[in-house]
Amino acid sequence: MRTIIHDLQEQEFAGWLGDTAQEEVTVISDSGAIRSCMGCFGCWTRTPGTCVIKRDGYDNLGELFSRSDELMIISKCMYGSYSPFVLNVLNRSLSYMLPYFVTTHGETHHRPRYKHQFKLSVHFYGSDLTEGEQHTARMLVAANGLNLYSSENNVYFHTSPQHIKEALQ
């Protein structure tokens, strides 16, 4: 299954899936209801595996990631980071990991909750991205991939969402 997280307007994203509608795809988009992570660690110590914020529809992201073969992110690149909505979704998916730590190559990371790996593909868009921002974004995705135990990471930069659509079809 492919999971797509994007920050586009519904109308803007309509028709993107095209022929890929044959495969199983779950799309996470901005319904306007998402609440921010509260930093409570409840997804680790109160309701392990799910977020304690239940009413906005973004509480089972960790479990969704565990069923995904590919996690595709489509985001405006802002200062070398994801846009606020995409960041919010990622922040709310903390339950994908365990709270426990493991040290690998001299660095501490969280242990995985699931015996699972997905491919991480990130499509950033922006018309005036600086080299510094692109460099930062590459480092960010690499670090995310390491912490999420992704099987591979790919980062692409596009000047507009339309160019991403063309590249994907």
């Binding site: 392990p48 070398g80 909505f85 922040n91 365990l98 501490t108 600086t130 930062t136 960010l140």
Partner: protein
């Protein structure tokens, strides 16, 4: 100088970012007006965004989330960029106090780069950042004086940051681990934090590994 102290933790109370700000405050209080902002409790108002444009210094304290800046604080920065572009009339310096859950403070380096990129877009000066590893330890070290024991590195960095703020100058960003062995920190975090919290919530340690 007018200095804004922005607590960028998503926790409404008892945040490590709040602890770090409370350590910094006495070091920069002399001769300056300190203005606390708590977007972790409620979003800033338009008037507060305008106030930030009239500050001499912005200090952002936040935890590392997904190798970057927490989303609610990131949204604040996006909004503030817009205000700064239209309302800023003076030179503003930005400093950061970051803490991360992993042991190595070095893992804060991408958040520092994101903040530098934001400063360039917003037309403000990046001053300096300090990044404390194993930030969750801070809450249990309230009896330890800054600069002593596990807080030795933090003390050194905090004094450097305070000096940079006082002189509104740029300094080398300092990312560091606590003066505490990593194996002991891992043991402590598992037994005294995660397992204890699980029991307080009526769970057994093995429940924490639940798969959905």
């Amino acid at each position: 100088m007018n200095i804004a102290l922005i607590n960028g933790s998503p926790k409404p109370n008892g945040s490590n970012s709040g602890i770090l700000l409370s350590m910094l405050e006495p070091l920069i209080a002399d001769g300056n007006e300190l203005h606390p902002y708590t977007p972790n409790k409620r979003p800033l108002t338009p008037e507060e965004y305008s106030e930030l444009c009239r500050m001499d210094v912005l200090v952002l304290a936040f935890p590392l989330y997904y190798d970057g800046i927490p989303s609610h604080l990131f949204q604040l920065l996006v909004t503030l960029e817009g205000y700064l572009k239209t309302e800023r009339e003076r030179e503003i310096y930005v400093y950061a106090l970051i803490n991360n859950g992993f042991y190595e403070g070095q893992q804060n380096h991408i958040a520092v780069e994101i903040l530098k990129n934001w400063c360039a877009r917003a037309g403000v000066h990046f001053g300096q950042a300090i990044g404390q590893g194993a930030g969750e330890m801070l809450g249990s070290l309230d009896k330890v004086p800054l600069g002593r024991g596990p807080l030795k590195n933090l003390g050194r960095a905090m004094y450097s940051l305070a000096e940079s703020i006082q002189s509104r100058s740029a300094g080398e960003s300092l990312l560091f681990s606590p003066n505490f062995p990593r194996f002991a920190w891992k043991f402590y975090s598992t037994r005294s934090f995660w397992h204890r919290t699980a029991r307080e919530n009526g769970l057994k340690p093995k429940d924490l590994r639940r798969r959905m």
